[in-house]
Symmetry: C2
Subunit: 337 residues, 2 copies
């Protein structure tokens, strides 16, 4: 069974689990708060639909991990809902922090409801992520449920530590590539590592296997983020037509940029002298490539992908779910916008 077939059954089950959880908000009459959460998750409002929902990568990673270990993935659905809600709570707050007007092609929550209500909706979704785990009561032993309750807040804390660094770097001039790693470990890798680790915990795998899956997820996360950095500068939508979306315009402290800043060449001079406007993007992206930033980042993606694969091999999982998990990881790292 290929990834597509797993998705056909898993994605509707993930949506149902999420809805079941979010609906507890509307039971107390706070229907407008429910509407905000349902809008952000892509279920309601203008532009609702699969595109507005995102790819549900994190719950898929989790469920496929559980399935690859030979367990019924349905027992892990509460965990899958929890990681997706954590991801989305962080997006709601990210959008406020970055003053982003659009998310998945639609106006962001704070643009529609204002900053105070959007902060609160994010908090609500954070609480719901923990509440989602409570359905584990009926599907796994109490010790395993407790482990799930413990691992999720740690991922959230690490997420906020990465976000702290990301925000702090905005005002800092002398960021280097060594500052990059703790930031993306927190912002991106921690939650992906938690998805695979929790998938293994819920499958009642031994500590060693949990650790192998955790490392697999962590390296997938790191490689994924750098691939995202590459696409943010040299990807189609960054270079053609929508140069305003280029990470060079938004000023993102991505790995290629930090590499070039350390080299203090032509790119660094331009970057430091003034804000970059969309029409300069193609030329600057080319300069950045000439200075070796593209190859540097690509090398890291390869190195980290290989490490991810090494950890995956150590898990020794085989079969259709393991194949689908490997297929999903490949898509994540080599995805094209």
């Amino acid at each position: 069974m290929a990834l597509a077939e797993f998705k056909d059954t898993m994605l509707p089950a993930i949506e149902a689990e999420l809805k079941n959880c979010i609906q507890s908000v509307s039971q107390t009459g706070e229907n407008d708060l429910f509407a905000m959460l349902a809008y952000h998750l892509g279920w309601e409002g203008e532009g609702a639909g699969p595109k507005a929902r995102g790819k549900r990568i994190r719950p898929l990673l989790l469920l496929l991990t559980t399935a690859s270990l030979g367990k019924d993935w349905e027992i892990a659905l509460p965990g899958a809902a929890a990681v997706e809600l954590v991801h989305n709570f962080s997006l709601i707050h990210d959008d406020i922090q970055d003053q982003s007007s659009l998310r998945r092609g639609r106006p962001t929550l704070w643009k529609l409801y204002g900053i105070p209500q959007a902060i609160n909706a994010g908090d609500s979704m954070f609480a719901l992520a923990q509440i989602a785990l409570q359905n584990l009561d009926t599907s796994v032993p109490v010790e395993i449920a407790l482990q799930a309750h413990q691992i999720i807040p740690h991922a959230c804390l690490t997420l906020t530590q990465g976000q702290y660094l990301d925000l702090a770097y905005e005002d800092k001039k002398d960021i280097t590539t060594s500052d990059y790693w703790p930031m993306i470990r927190g912002k991106t890798a921690a939650l992906l590592a938690t998805c695979t680790e929790l998938g293994a915990i819920l499958a009642n795998a031994d500590k060693n296997t949990q650790e192998n899956f955790r490392n697999f997820g962590e390296f997938i996360g790191l490689a994924f983020q750098i691939q995202d950095d590459i696409l943010g500068i040299w990807g189609d939508s960054a270079l053609t037509g929508k140069s305003a979306e280029s990470d060079l315009v938004t000023g993102k402290k991505s790995l290629p940029v930090l590499f070039a800043l350390e080299k203090s060449g032509e790119f660094a001079k331009r970057w430091k002298n003034q804000t970059i406007v969309p029409k300069e993007v193609p030329e600057l992206a080319e300069i950045l490539k000439t200075e070796g930033a593209y190859d540097y980042a690509k090398d890291w993606v390869d190195k980290l992908t290989n490490q991810a694969l090494d950890w995956f091999e150590k898990t020794e999982v085989v079969g259709p779910a393991a194949d689908a998990l490997s297929e999903l990881s490949n898509q994540l790292i080599q995805r094209v916008r």
Copy 2:
């Protein structure tokens, strides 16, 4: 043993538990994020000290409940830290939402660090509230620890539902006294009810006793909020000298105001016609009293306090800790600013 004596031993233990938990942030090198949290909790920065810490009412309620049931309150310290962190996470976000510049006499976190970092610090404290509970592993059986992990997120969700209403009411013209109750049940009573309920859960009390303690905390919370509303209009600091702090100036939808708006008398006319400025406050507070709003609110405080006491009696707890708990509740409801 009176409340003061319990405080002498409990308050330092609460601070130690909180510090132990918050310090996990600094272990990963994010010392500035730690500094933000430590500032908000009153430990660091200008004006740090007991006054900046707040009264730690919620953890005291929780620990005294556990103690009143004959259990060693130290086993409940992780729960006490959790409720205090939940309270403080919500204050950090509240201050952003209300654009408040001062909290406990010091600049608010967002005033010092900006909105993006303050949102993130609140999220971090929210995650730490869950992490605080993990120390229960060594002090109570696994089933009880799991219950603690389940009750806290529910309190947080209810908190955000109340906050949603509070924010929504700002733009609504036709709020009545019946809109008031779901708001304060969420914003104030839910967390206080969770303190007493969790104190009973951690003491391994039976379901009935847990429920009695929960109701006791809930009614204390409701009475406390209305007493706070009364002080916000007729209290010393609202009337003399600092009229700018009066709830009549900030436009808070408190119970006395909603009562008078329903009556559509002189006060309602003035309230609806224009923003109230500090120099009008003493006169308007007097009009409000003449229209019966003070008596109406005071009656509610009495009624709710009696209900709280009824629930407390049903718990049948006696002894020094029970006396201290009763003393703390009285202070909460009759506190003078």
